[in-house]
């Protein structure tokens, strides 16, 4: 029983660690601010959720202590991670951060131009 629990814990924690490393590589390699925000919001949220699930399984299956705070933390991170990434991407676009050279289409530019003409 302990062996199965250890395998589960190590599998989830290694999965999360790999995703957080991929996030760090994306943060240093991707070309512009929007793709870096994309890397940092989605995969970091998945990685930290998986690690917290592994810690919850460790405290539940090995030490016999059902800790509901970790479950609350998982739910909170699942809700707030994408919201933070979205707000940061919107702030970057509206404050005029340049897109990378490899961008092929930019649909938001037309919408914002029309809206600004309407406001004036």
């Amino acid at each position: 029983m302990t062996v199965i629990a250890n395998i589960l814990i190590i599998a989830t924690i290694s999965f999360g660690t790999i995703f957080i490393l991929v996030t760090a590589i994306g943060l240093i390699r991707l070309p512009d601010a929007f793709s870096r925000a994309h890397a940092a919001s989605k995969s970091a949220t998945l990685g930290v959720m998986s690690i917290l699930l592994g810690v919850f399984l460790h405290f539940w299956l090995i030490e016999g202590h059902f800790n509901s705070r970790i479950l609350l933390g998982i739910a909170f991170l699942f809700i707030t991670g994408p919201v933070g990434g979205h707000m940061m991407g919107r702030a970057a676009y509206l404050s005029g951060v340049k897109l990378s050279d490899q961008t092929v289409r930019d649909d938001l530019a037309d919408v914002i131009k029309k809206k600004r003409e309407k406001l004036q």
Binding site: A44, R69, M87, S95
Partner: protein
């Protein structure tokens, strides 16, 4: 064996925080820095969770929730400040 894997993952988190610190120092625009700071918060949450396994204590598990809330609120506040120049708006149009 389990201890060794946990220590290796702690080392990898430290490497990841160092990479995010490089992006904070170098980053060409302010949203880059804010995204990297958000990622440092996520890494700290994971490190605290694994350190509480290594030290065999339940005392640090509240700190996970508090750090999550602080990282979220600071990301929202920085992005509102970058977007409009004010954190709390007084006008209600658009």
């Amino acid at each position: 064996m389990v201890e060794k894997i946990l220590l290796i993952s702690l080392t990898l988190f430290a490497v990841s925080i160092a990479i995010a610190l490089f992006r904070i120092i170098k980053g060409p625009s302010m949203p880059d820095r804010a995204v990297a700071l958000d990622m440092i918060g996520v890494n700290l949450i994971s490190m605290i969770a694994i350190i509480s396994i290594v030290l065999k204590t339940k005392a640090f598990l509240e700190a996970i929730l508090i750090l999550g809330i602080l990282a979220f609120i600071s990301t929202i506040a920085i992005s509102k400040y970058i977007e409009r120049g004010a954190i709390i708006e007084h006008k209600s149009d658009n």
